[in-house]
Amino acid sequence: MKVKLQHVAHARSGDKGDTSNIAVFAYTPELYALLKDQLTAERFKAFYAGAIKGPVTRYEVDNLDAMNFVAQGALGGGVSRSLCLDNYGKALSAAVLGFEIEVPESLRSHLRGQHLL
């Protein structure tokens, strides 16, 4: 089954200059394995389309069942220069929750937000 990432993982973004780091945390270790396989740096950048101007680096953080995506050129030139209303990009992490992940039926019970499946 294809589900939105929000059922598989939670996310938080942080800012440093013109770089946003968007960390994605799987709800269970089994879901983390799916994420590692499917949410590559290339797909991540493509999903954000023109909102990320620079390269994206993916760091795997196995002890947290998490991946940290460091996206350069994502904050309109930097927090203070940005013309975006969300200068710090604190809402940027929500976009990736719409990324579609293929999840086997056997892991259905691992998913959050069952009422929206």
């Binding site: 938080r12 780091n21 945390f25 999903f47 389309a49 998490a66 940290n68 930097g78 203070s80 013309l83």
Partner: protein, 451 residues
């Protein structure tokens, strides 16, 4: 030597709430209460304000609010305070705290002011290259406002050793504010990167306050959090070995779970195995976290590597102005009216010859926040704000944005909603750049004041 100390958070940024700080002071049974109040551009913005407004004392504009809320409890309990509310004038902030203590009848309290972070006059000699773009820092000479070094925990520890009960600093790396008590109480050597890695990692978990106790976290149906209007600020029960339990005052809302700890652990981190701070290089990839009770998570085994030979310098520069404003559409056809309104503005900006380095016209409600990342099939909203921003060299150019939006009142499209143009719709841009300075070239100095 104590086996365990309780270090609590009093703020995560300048605009943070004051009530949870007072609660931590009153009910947190804290050995230390730590305040973080600075963003990247805080020092430069303070410098600009100080130039224009001679009455601005140069420290946290909420210093009085915060100190009045916590000092009575801290004095009663014997809680020490460490705070970066000194901004560009730690001495003045320390003197103000002494004054407040005297007004409350607390005499004999030693307050330290840690200086030495500001290196504006020497920054071009001390630094070579701008980290973000590789250009020489000398290229910033004509626009430079302020430069400050991120200091580590050592000067704070020195002040504590000298008997200070309250330590006010200028720019210090955020986690270092929270680690200084651990170094002091447990007599950690400044070069013991194993201990300091844990301490700085814990500092990182505490520095953003409620972001580890349920703030910036709740998402109904997915991540439910009790009483999100009533967050407590975090408290770390730190053991001598550098492990800790993160908790909060009983009866507050929010939650401390593996999830909230994880999210904060990677917040504003790039390479999780190499998080650079002035004191140590932190490695979060070895961290172990365990829920040991309700709203209690044990954090251990955060890694540490030897500190780098350099300190980060933040350089603030004038970079022109931003003009911005918005107006509104609602009801059936809101988007089509917003779209033609955008065209009207684009044409009028040509007529008035707006000279902008960048212009952004968004439909707030549809694509103003995620921009190009907005899905192509996002549904049309019932209400839309047309939000316009332009970055310009001069304030006069920036003001054209608001002036043309004024024009949408009677010369616009049907059903245009508008705000009364009461506020100044321009603001100054302070660009922030980074560089590195050899650590031996930076000398902290500490002044002491007694109430």
């Amino acid at each position: 030597m104590k086996d365990m100390i309780r270090v609590g958070s009093g703020s995560a940024w300048w605009g943070d709430r004051v009530e949870p700080a007072a609660l931590n002071a009153e009910k947190g049974d804290l050995d230390y209460l730590c305040f973080e109040t600075m963003a990247e551009a805080t020092v430069s913005a303070a410098q600009v304000r100080a130039r224009r407004d001679p009455s601005f004392p140069g420290y946290d504009t909420y210093l009085d609010d915060r100190m009045k809320a916590v000092l009575p409890h801290c004095m009663k309990r014997g809680t020490k305070i460490i705070s970066n509310q000194g901004w560009i004038n730690p001495d003045a902030a320390a003197k103000r705290v002494v004054q407040l203590l005297q007004e409350m009848g607390h005499t004999g309290v030693k307050v330290a002011a840690v200086n030495g972070s500001l290196i504006t006059e020497h920054v071009l000699e001390l630094t070579d290259t701008i980290l973000e773009n590789g250009l020489p820092t000398a290229s910033l000479s004509s626009t430079l406002i302020s430069a400050e070094v991120y200091q580590g925990a050592e000067p704070i520890v020195e002040a504590l050793k000298a008997g200070a009960q309250i330590v006010i600093t200028g720019r210090v790396a955020d986690p270092s504010i929270f680690m200084a008590p651990m170094m002091y109480e447990f007599e950690w050597d400044p070069l013991d990167h194993v201990k300091l890695g844990q301490g700085n990692g814990l500092g990182h978990l505490l520095e953003c306050g409620a972001q580890v106790t349920g703030g910036y976290f709740a998402d109904p149906g997915f991540k439910d959090v009790p009483e999100p209007w009533n967050f407590g600020f975090p408290i770390a029960e730190v053991s001598r070995d550098g492990s800790a339990v993160i908790t909060k005052v009983a009866g507050t809302g929010g939650q401390i779970s593996l999830q909230t700890i994880k999210e904060q652990m990677l917040y504003e981190v790039h390479d999780p195995a190499n998080y650079l701070t002035p004191d140590v290089v932190v490695d979060f990839t070895t961290a172990q976290i365990e829920q040991v009770g309700p709203d209690r998570v044990k954090v251990s085994h955060i890694g540490g590597k030897p500190r780098t030979p350099t300190l980060k310098v933040s350089i603030g520069c004038t970079e022109g102005f931003i003009g911005e404003d918005m107006f509104f559409y609602a009801g059936p056809g809101a988007l089509r009216r917003a779209q033609i309104a955008r065209k009207v503005l684009e044409e009028r900006f040509k007529i008035v010859n707006l000279k902008a380095e960048d212009i952004r016209i968004d439909y707030l409600g549809l694509n103003a926040i995620h921009g190009d990342a907005t899905p192509a099939d996002a549904p049309e909203p019932y209400e839309i704000a047309v939000r316009v921003a332009a970055r310009t060299k001069t304030r006069e150019e920036a003001a054209k944005v608001g002036r043309e939006i004024d024009g949408m009142a009677v010369s616009g499209i049907a059903h245009t909603g508008k705000r009364v143009p009461h506020q100044d719709r321009t603001r100054e841009v302070i660009g922030v750049w980074s560089s590195l300075v050899p650590r031996e070239r930076v000398t902290p100095s500490i002044n002491y004041f007694v109430s």
